[in-house]
Amino acid sequence: MSIRDKLSKKLPARLERMREAYFKIKPSISIHRAHAFTRVAREEWGTNTKVLKGKCIYHACETAPIYIGKEELIVGLSGGKPRAGIISPDVSWRWLAKEVDYIDRRKVDPYELAEEDRKILKEEIFPFWKGKSVDEICYKHLEELGLLSMTFESGVVDCEVKTTSGGGDLCPGYPNILFKKGFAGIKKRALERLAILRPEVREEYDQIFFLKAVVLSCDGMILLAKRYVDAALEMAKVESDPQRKKELEDIAKVFQRVPEHPPTNFREALQMIWFGQAMLYQEEITAGTSPGRVDQYVYPFYKQDIESGALTVEEAEELMYCFLYKFNENAWPLSEFASKYFSGYMPYQNMVVGGVDENGRDAVNDLTYMIMNCSKNLRMFQPSLTTRIHAEAPAEYWEAIADVISAGLGFPNVQTDEVAIEALLSLGLTLRDARNYSIMGCTEPQLAGKQVRWASATYTNFGIPFEFVMTNGMHRFTKKKLGVETGSLESFDTFEKFEAAVKEQIKHIFKICGVCTILIQKVHQQHQPKPLGSALIDDCVERGKDYMEGGAHYNSGPGIVCVGTAEYANSMYAVKKLVYEDKKITLQQLAKAMEHDFEGFPEIYKMCITAPKYGNDIEAVDFFAKDLMNFAYEEIKKLDGLLAPLELSTLSVSSNVPQGEALGALPSGRRAGKPISDGISPTQGTDVNGITAAIKSVDGAELWKNTDGTLYNVTINPDLVSTPQGKANLVALLKAHHKLGGAQIQFNCIKRETLLDAQKHPEKYRSLMVRVAGYSAYFTELAKELQDDIISRTEQTKF
C-alpha cells in the first residue's frame, strides 16, 4: 500500500480548531526585542559591536514573552503571540516612528500596537537609536554620494529591503549543524576555539569578539528553551484536562532535549527546526529564513519512530500538521512603502521536498508525500512549498504535485533540479552540494547551512531604460536626470543603435545597483553583525568570522532583482517592427506618445498594444527576452558585491506594482503608472495563445542564468484541472515544461469571478489564497493595487 493511501483526507479536528481561530487573529507589533536591545545597548554602548550584539540577543532571550497555544504540540514564538512581529530599531526605526500613530489603520498590512508599547517606543526606543540605525547610516552614505535621487527618492533603484530590515535570506544549517551538535555543541566548539586564540595576534583578535558573541547567542537560545520547559510544566500543574496535561509535560520533555542537544526522535526534530524558525528573529527581524529539505533530513527520525512503533503514521501526521501550522504565526513587519514590495504579511519561509539526493538519485520518500498532503489539507499560506522535479522523478510524485496544484492554494512552486543545479555549479558549488540545494524565500536555489546569499539588496526594472533613451536620461516621474545621456533620438538611425542605447542605460542602472549593494553590505558588516545566524552556517565558527565577513563556506550574490522582462521584449520588438522595419511611425512620434501616456495618440497606442507580444511562442519577440537574460547575466556577473560577484534575479516578489508606479508609458503599450510585468511572466493578459505557447516562450529564455531565482506565474482555470483527466494534463504540462528546460513554474488555479467577488465581500473569503509572486498570500490581506494586478493576470483579450 502506498503511503499516499494511508494519509489523512482532511484536517484533524485539533488543527481545524486552530485554523479557525487563526483567521480571527489580527497581526500585531511586539516590542520586547526592541526594548531588550535598547536596555543593553544603552548600558553597554561602546562594547565591541559583535559582543554587544551577543549580549543583546542573550537579554532578548532572557526576557522574551513565552507563549504556548491552547492545543498546540509544536511550540514557540518570538513575539509572544501568534502573528506578532518583532522589530529591529537597530536596523531601522524611522519608518515606524512615522507610522507609529496609525500603523493599525494603514492601508497595506496594518498591525495592532498596544498603547503602552507605543509610549515606550516614542519615549525610550526611538530616541536612543537616532543616528545609529542601519537605515540612517545607509541613507547618509547614499546622500554623500549623490545617489539619493536614483534610490530613495525615485525608486529606480530601490534599496529599502536591506536598509529597513535585517539581512536574513538564510537557509540555516539545521541538518548539518543544529541536528549534529545542538546549541551546546556549537558553544563547545566556539569555546575550544576561544581557548587557543591569542589577542596579541592580528589575524586572531577579531575572531575572539565574534566567537564570544556566538557563545552568548547559544546561551540565549538554551536559556530560552529552558524557559519553555518551566512554562510548560507550570501550565501542566494547573491543567485539569488529563490529555492536555500529558501533552504539556511532553512539550517540557522535548525542550529539555532540544535545541540544546541534537534531536533523538521525529517530534524533537520538528520542534528543533521550529525553534530555529521562531527564535532566529531574536537576532534581527528578517525574511526568508527557510527550513529547506525537511523531507530529507527529518526522514531518518520518521523512519526510526515508525519502525520502532513509537509513532503511528497518524500521530506523525498530526505532529507534521502542528509543525506546518506554526509557520503561519511568524510575521515580518515592514514600512507601508516596503509592504507594497512584499505584500501580505509574508515571512517567506520556504520548505522544499523531493528532488535528487547528493548522488543524483531520486530522493522522494514517505515524508515527501506527507508534507505535500498536510500542506494541501491545511490550506494556509506558510510555509511556501516547493517541489523539486527532475527527469527520473516517479510517476506518483508528479501526480501528487498536480494534486496539490489543483487544490488552488497557489503552491507548490515547481523547481527544476537540472536548472538549479547548473546555476549553483556556475557559482562554484561542488556537484554533491549543488544537488542538495534548498529553496530560500521564494524560488532562490541555495545550499542550507553552507551558502549565504542575500536574494537582493536592490530592485529595478527593465522598462525604465526605454524611458531614459527616449528622454536622453530624464526620469519622467521626478523630472530629474537619472539616466545617462545616450544621445538625441535623431542619432538612432538604425535599430541596432537604439538597442545599444537601451542596453547602455541598463548597464548604468546595474552599476548603481552594484554600488548600493556593496554600500549596504558594508553597513551591515560593520554595524549589524549576525552571530546567531553565523553559528548555523559552516564555516563561520571554524574561521571565527561572521557570515557578513565571509565566514560562510560559500559566499554568493546578492542578486539584483529586475522586473519586467516581458515589458522589455515587447517594447524592443514594437520599436523594431513599427519604427525600423515597417516604418509606420518615427521614434520621435513614439517618444511623444509615450510622454503623453498615449493620450491623444490612439493610432500609435493601438499599434503598440497590438504588436506581437512575448508569451505567445513567437520567436521574433521571444528572442529579446532570451537576449536580455544573456546580456543581464553577463553584465551583472562583472559587478562585485562585498564577498562575491552579483547575480541576476528576475524574482519580482510584488515589486512589479510599486516599480510600475514611477514608470511612464512604454513602447509595449503599457500605460504610465500601471504595474509592470511580474517575474519572467508574460505581461498581464497578453499571452493569448494558450498556456502551452506561454510556457514555450518563457522556457526558451535560458533561465538558469537567473542564478538567484526566477518567477513564472501561470493562471489556470480550476475547471481545467479538477478532473482526473485534467490532472493528467497538468502533469503533461509540467513534464513538457521540464523537457523544455524550464527553471520554475507556479500556478494560480482560481477563477477571475471568485477574485472579483472576494474584493466585494472580503469577509466571506478570509482564507482564499492566491499566488502573488514567489509565495501565496491571503487575497483579502493584499493591497488593492496588488489585488487588481492579480486579477489582470487572468484577463482575456477583448474578443
Binding site: P602, E603, Y605, K606, I609, T610, D617, N689, G690, I691, T692, A693, K696, L720, Q725, G726, A728, N729, V731, A732, L733, K735, A736, K739, L740, K798, F799
Partner: protein, 317 residues
C-alpha cells in the same frame, strides 16, 4: 501541387483539453452544412466570406473606419450610432486596421497546410507528454475535406506522428469522409435529433445523411496509417425544448446499439446547452434565435444518461 491547397481557418486554439485525449491544438475550419439555431461559432458558418465582428462597447465613434471603407461604404455613423452594412463588406480588413480601439475584428484567414502545420507542431512537446495532438473543428472541417486530409496526412508523417481527431456534423457525402479516414484516430460526430423533421427545423437540414455516415463509420474496420481502428464519440448537444426528451434519447440509444458492430463507439458525450456564443451574434449583426429555456438541469442530464446506460452504452457528461 497539393501544397498549394489553401484552407479557410477562423481560429487556431492551443491548449485545448476537451476535444480528444491530452493537450491539443484545435483548428477551426470555416463553413458548415448545418445552421443550428444555437450555434456558438456563428462566425464560422459561411464557407468563404470573412465575418466582421464589431464590439460596440469599445467603439469611440471616431469615424476612422468610415474613412478607411470609403470604397465599399459599409461603415456609417448616424446620430452617434455605428452602423455596418454587412452585404457591402468584402472582408478587406482595412477598417480593422484603421480602428484605434480594437473594436473590429475579422476572424478568418486563408492559410496553407504548411502554415497551419507549423503552428500546430509548435506544441509537439506537449502532445508527447500528454498523448494529445490536433483536432479539426469549426464550422465543419469536412466542408474543406481536401485541405483537412492534406493537413492530417502531414500530421501522421514520420517526423510528426501526432494524435488526430475531427469534430464534424457528419453531414457530407461519404466520399469526403473517405479522404480523411486513413489519417484519423478519433471522430466526434453529433447526433442532434433522431427525427428528420425536427432536425430539419432546428438545423436547416435533415439527419438522413448524418445517420447513414455514422452507420458506415461504426462499421469501418481500420484506418490505413494508424495501427488501431478509428474511435467514434457521439456528441449530443442537449438543447432545451428540442432534444431533451426521453423518447429521442431512447431512439438514439437503440440506433447506436444496433449499429456499433465493430465496437468503435467509445462513448456518448452529453453537452448541455450554453450561451457563450450569444455575444458573437451581436458582434456579427445577427439576431440570436436560440432556445427560450436556457438551463438543462442535472436531473435531465441524468435521466438521459440513464437511457444510454440501459442500452449498455457508456456515457459521459
Amino acid at each position: 501541387m497539393k501544397d498549394s491547397i489553401k484552407g479557410n481557418i477562423f481560429n487556431i486554439q492551443k491548449f485545448s483539453v476537451h476535444d480528444g485525449p491530452g493537450i491539443r491544438t484545435l483548428v477551426f475550419f470555416k463553413g458548415c452544412p448545418l445552421s443550428c439555431i444555437w450555434c456558438s461559432n456563428p462566425e464560422g458558418l459561411d464557407p468563404i466570406k470573412p465575418a466582421l465582428q464589431f464590439s460596440k462597447d469599445y467603439c469611440s465613434l471616431c469615424g476612422r473606419c468610415v474613412h478607411a471603407c470609403s470604397k465599399q461604404n459599409a461603415h456609417k455613423i448616424v446620430e452617434n450610432e455605428h452602423q455596418i452594412e454587412r452585404k457591402d463588406c468584402i472582408g478587406c480588413n482595412s477598417c480593422v486596421e484603421a480602428c484605434p480601439n480594437i473594436a473590429l475584428k475579422l476572424a478568418s484567414k486563408e492559410m496553407s497546410v504548411d502554415e497551419v502545420l507549423a503552428l500546430v507542431m509548435q506544441d509537439k512537446v506537449f502532445y508527447e507528454t500528454s498523448g494529445g495532438g490536433i483536432t479539426l473543428g469549426g464550422g465543419d472541417p469536412l466542408m474543406q475535406a481536401d485541405f483537412a486530409a492534406n493537413l492530417l496526412m502531414r500530421c501522421k508523417q514520420s517526423e510528426n506522428k501526432i494524435n488526430t481527431a475531427i469534430e464534424t456534423s457528419g453531414c457530407v457525402s461519404w466520399k469526403e469522409w473517405e479522404k480523411i479516414l486513413p489519417y484519423l484516430d478519433l471522430a466526434f460526430v453529433d447526433i442532434k435529433h433522431m427525427d428528420e423533421e425536427q432536425h430539419k427545423k432546428y438545423t436547416g437540414v435533415d439527419n438522413k445523411r448524418i445517420l447513414e455516415n455514422i452507420c458506415k463509420l461504426l462499421s469501418t474496420k481500420t484506418s490505413t496509417t494508424t495501427s488501431s481502428s478509428i474511435s467514434i464519440i457521439i456528441r449530443i448537444p442537449l438543447i432545451p425544448d428540442f432534444n431533451t426528451d426521453e423518447e429521442n434519447a431512447k431512439k438514439c440509444a437503440e440506433f447506436l446499439q444496433k449499429h456499433d458492430v465493430q465496437k468503435t463507439l467509445k462513448y456518448v458525450e452529453l453537452l448541455p446547452y450554453h450561451e457563450w456564443g450569444v455575444m458573437k451574434y451581436q458582434q456579427l449583426g445577427l439576431s440570436y434565435n436560440g432556445p427560450k429555456e436556457k438551463i438543462v438541469t442535472k436531473e435531465t442530464m441524468e435521466k438521459i444518461a440513464l437511457i444510454f446506460k440501459e442500452h449498455l452504452i457508456q456515457v459521459v457528461y
